[in-house]
Symmetry: C2
Subunit: 255 residues, 2 copies
């Protein structure tokens, strides 16, 4: 199966390398940014281009892995062909391809990717969507070749899943950043937080986050909460503390 | 070394069991709640009591692991003795023992504990404080017997560290709870989030959270942010989304 990657960012880099590893032929990489296109193509041993009209029309699969804002424009510059076109975006409906391709869909891996950091694809949940049953079969075949956790999901539900992922990943990471900032202010090395952060994540493999919740907010320990609020000089951190403590308390009261 | 545990909660349970495992003699467990005292004492093979005046005065170490609100009162009911008295609380100054014991201090393990869930003590950062250099030596000896990550820290800095831990653990866990709620509303099994949650935690072993930050807020993708805000019906979740996105954007602009 011959594949073209449209995009050379974090997700495109990791997914193309994994697909190559399991036996796909990556034919070409397109990126608006020459350095990114060249770099990824070199690791894949394939051709590259910065011109969408140079994307070949004889591949079997076109993986569009681009920023949401430019996806629609790049799609319109790729020559129509008989291949299956997919994007990898949580928030974009499948129908962005309607009128541009005959066979199209979505391959959405629920994970955070960095160019530099390898990840174990076999456990990543893949969410697929396809415009026809025949296309569905193609995408299923592609996804199961890299992951053991594959299912189909509509555009509407994928959008909601992406929102959940913003909480689980982006907001969690920012909370880590705030915690690191607080220990750095005390000249304590940030890595003292790692065992706690790891255990907090590991715990919810065995119990629900609601069961795992500990700390002053769940006990509604106003004494500690108020002391903490006076210790936070940054008004945004104070608001975040207040809002999350309220929310923890509210969830607990509903149970 | 003979040890009495005052308290039989999550931390007391895990720490007493670990100390027993590495060779300490746990003499007695005190808890206000008979069932908790009895249960922990049974796993340790030691005596238990629900009366503070029955706590023996010939132990070498008294570990007070109680809710902040009751610590002071329970301390005042224990008969004065020659042992070293320590508590395990992040937010309480060491001086809570002044006037009650001659040798005292703090052993603060930075971790989240559950009665049911074993944890690897060897990697848990322990933060110690002692009222005399001789007491410091005793606490150092106790802590290094269970952990390879031991240092001294003042009450003032420990309080700040505890605040950072509320972010890193309690708030992170609540963000998990909100993400799980969002996927549950779509009838998607919550465990699809686990590889993402694990990778988000694993990533910051190799890069700072600031470097690891991804998602619509760091790109300030107002299109996606506004779509997400309209998708959140719960006003608290909407506020949390807005505040954390603003905070991510603000931190990024400062760099």
């Amino acid at each position: 199966m011959k594949v073209v990657f449209i995009g050379a960012g974090n997700l495109a880099t990791r997914l193309s390398q994994e697909m190559r590893r399991v036996g796909f032929t990556i034919k070409q990489v397109y990126s608006h940014t020459q350095a990114s296109a060249e770099l990824l193509a070199r690791t894949l041993g394939c051709a590259w281009t910065i011109r969408p009209d140079e994307v070949p029309d004889d591949a079997d699969l076109y993986v569009f892995s681009l920023k949401d804002a430019v996806l629609s424009e790049v799609i319109s510059h790729i020559r129509p062909n008989k291949g299956v076109w997919v994007h990898t975006a949580g928030s974009i409906p499948m129908d962005i391809f309607a009128g541009h391709a005959e066979r199209y869909g979505v391959i959405y891996p629920l994970q955070t990717f960095s160019k530099k950091r390898p990840v174990d694809f076999s456990v990543i949940p893949f969410f697929l969507e396809a415009n026809t049953p025949e296309t569905a079969k193609v995408l299923q075949k592609v996804a199961v070749s890299v992951s053991g956790n594959v299912r189909f999901l509509s555009s509407e539900k994928r959008k909601q899943l992406h929102l959940a992922a913003v909480f689980a990943c982006n907001f969690t990471n920012h909370i880590y950043a705030l915690a690191v900032k607080l220990v750095a202010e005390q000249e304590i090395p940030a890595d003292v937080l790692l065992p706690l952060i790891d255990e907090t994540a590991a715990k919810i493999h065995n119990m629900s986050p609601a069961e795992a919740q500990t700390g002053p907010a769940i006990r509604y320990d106003e004494n500690v909460i108020n002391k903490h609020l006076t210790m936070l000089s940054d008004p945004d951190m104070k608001s975040i503390y207040q809002l999350l403590s309220q929310s923890i308390h509210k969830e607990a009261s509903h149970e």
